[in-house]
């Protein structure tokens, strides 16, 4: 991994360290049932803080498939809390009520990772604060310099493990953290919150934060159908593609970007405006179904969606493959698992699944310069 320089403008043309790793795994041994476990479920919880956008593309399909209806209708709600002080998230009341009873997600809203202080609460109970040097010194909590801040450190990362056995209401650590965030340097943010628990009773985020300005939000769903689209021909066992036979993963990735950005696919190579055209070989499909879900979506829901998509091929279908794209927050302090995430030029943080009819899949993960290689 090449480290970014302190002067991003000097490296901006070279695209250093952009990582893009397609993966291919067969999971033929698993029957397509809703409960079928995916082989590496852990690595699917990749973007630990909820993604912002999930996009689904199914060729040869005109309407929302029956198997997906319930999952898409129930992607779960999330909350936006205005001016929430960070110390509210580290109190033992909050930890006992939410963090220890399910997966609790929190992310600061409208903060920029390369300018502002940001915070994220991961489902494993870790609170990550990414703060500038002044705030770090005022806070007086233990942290480490950001990996991407160059020679002169201007940004620090503080990780507080809220579920650690040493972190209980009587411990010094607890008192210190609470004091630092409540009295020494109070930090306030607008937070996006989501909570996932399996059936356990208890108070809800809505009632817990009732004295704050809290608003429940539902993810926005947009559905459309494309007509007569050129689709690349893919073969699940040929990642690199073969001339005249199938397209490579890179070509597919660019094509997907073109589809989602409404780029015209049928240009001539001599065209003055644009020479982009659909990769060869391709077929024209009569219709393609597009669905976008935008909001603070938790990874558990994406796994549900993925499992439902495997069921889609349970019955014979015309489509040979379908794709599921997940965009992460560009300003999240973490990307994959707990790896630090930075913005650099674009803060890319996304992955794409291609699921084939025979249930082979490709997983393409893309991150920007200020990121570790995904797992």
């Amino acid at each position: 991994m090449e480290k970014a320089t302190a002067f991003p403008s000097l490296v901006m043309g070279r695209g250093e360290g952009h990582i893009y790793c397609p993966r291919k795994v067969e999971f033929k041994t698993i029957t397509p049932r809703p409960t079928a476990p995916l082989p590496d479920k852990e690595s699917l919880l990749i973007s630990p803080v909820g993604p912002i956008q999930v996009s689904l593309l199914i060729p040869e399909c005109g309407i929302l498939p029956e198997v997906l209806k319930s999952t898409i209708a129930d992607v779960g709600e999330y909350y936006l809390v205005r001016n929430l002080s960070v110390h509210e998230l580290v109190t033992h009341e909050f930890i006992d009520a939410f963090v220890k009873k399910g997966s609790c997600y929190a992310l600061t809203y409208n903060t920029k990772i390369d300018q502002d202080n940001t915070a994220a609460l991961l489902p494993n109970g870790k609170l990550i604060l990414s703060v500038d040097k002044d705030t770090y010194e005022e806070l007086g909590l233990q942290g480490h310099p950001s990996r991407y801040s160059g020679k002169k450190v201007m940004r620090y990362i503080i990780t507080i493990d809220l579920t650690d056995s040493g972190y209980h209401p009587d411990s010094k650590k607890y008192k210190r953290v609470l004091w630092a965030l409540k009295e020494k340097k109070p930090l306030e943010f607008d937070f996006l919150l989501a909570w996932y628990n399996t059936g356990a009773e208890g108070s809800t985020l809505m009632s817990y934060f009732s004295k704050n300005q809290i608003k429940a939000l539902k993810p926005k769903i947009t559905i459309s159908t494309l007509r007569d689209v050129q689709c690349p021909v893919l073969k699940s066992n040929e990642l690199q593609g073969k001339p005249e036979e199938s397209c490579s993963t890179e070509e597919l990735f660019e094509w997907l970007g073109a589809v989602w950005n409404q780029v015209s696919l049928d240009n001539k190579s001599s065209s003055f405006l644009s020479t982009y055209c659909c990769p060869q070989p391709n077929t024209v499909v009569e219709k393609a179904f597009l669905c976008t879900i935008t909001g603070f979506i938790i990874p558990e829901k994406i796994i549900q969606l993925l499992e439902q998509l495997c069921c889609y091929f349970g019955e014979p279908k015309l489509a040979y493959w379908l794709t599921l794209t997940v965009h992460g927050f560009a300003d999240s302090p973490v990307s994959w698992r707990e790896s630090e995430h930075g913005f650099h030029k674009g803060g890319e943080n996304l992955y794409n699944f291609v699921i084939f009819r025979n249930l082979d899949y490709w997983l393409q993960m893309a991150v920007g310069t200020n990121d570790d290689c995904p797992p």
């Binding site: 043309g13 952009h18 790793c21 993966r23 996009s55 990735f253 405006l273 560009a330």
Partner: protein, 127 residues
């Protein structure tokens, strides 16, 4: 009792670092109110003339594709080979006039992945 072992799944991993062939830019042209708005061909011509102004004929020969263009908002997605990103970006930044009227290019987002341009969390308004 242990469950019977499943046959090993085939697994292949490929990592491409700094290997992106193209870079993509989402840009918006700012013009004073009123007056003619460029159509897509004039827009491309403007980009080429910006390159020529700063980098000469060699710069003007840099292949740039206008992937999308919306005349109403004057916003576009451009594609350029990765080695030409700095040239294009600097030329757009330093361009100041369109048909003798002040203008400015705003680079809204840039990425080596076209797909990343379809989901920008910095422009997200949730409520």
């Amino acid at each position: 009792m242990e469950p019977p072992a499943l046959p090993a799944a085939t697994f292949e991993r490929r990592v491409v670092r700094s290997g992106a062939e193209h870079h993509y830019l989402r840009v918006r042209l700012e013009l004073p109110d009123g007056g003619a708005r460029p159509n897509v061909a004039q827009f491309k011509q403007l980009v080429v003339s910006a390159l020529r102004e700063l980098h000469g004929e060699v710069g003007a020969a840099l292949p740039v594709d206008v992937l999308t263009y919306e005349e109403k908002t004057l916003s576009a997605i451009l594609r350029v080979i990765s080695s030409g990103l700095v040239k294009l970006w600097s030329a757009l930044t330093l361009l100041g006039f369109y048909q003798n009227r002040r203008c400015a290019f705003r680079v809204l987002q840039t990425s080596p992945f076209l797909l990343a341009l379809s989901g920008n969390s910095r422009e997200l308004v949730l409520d």
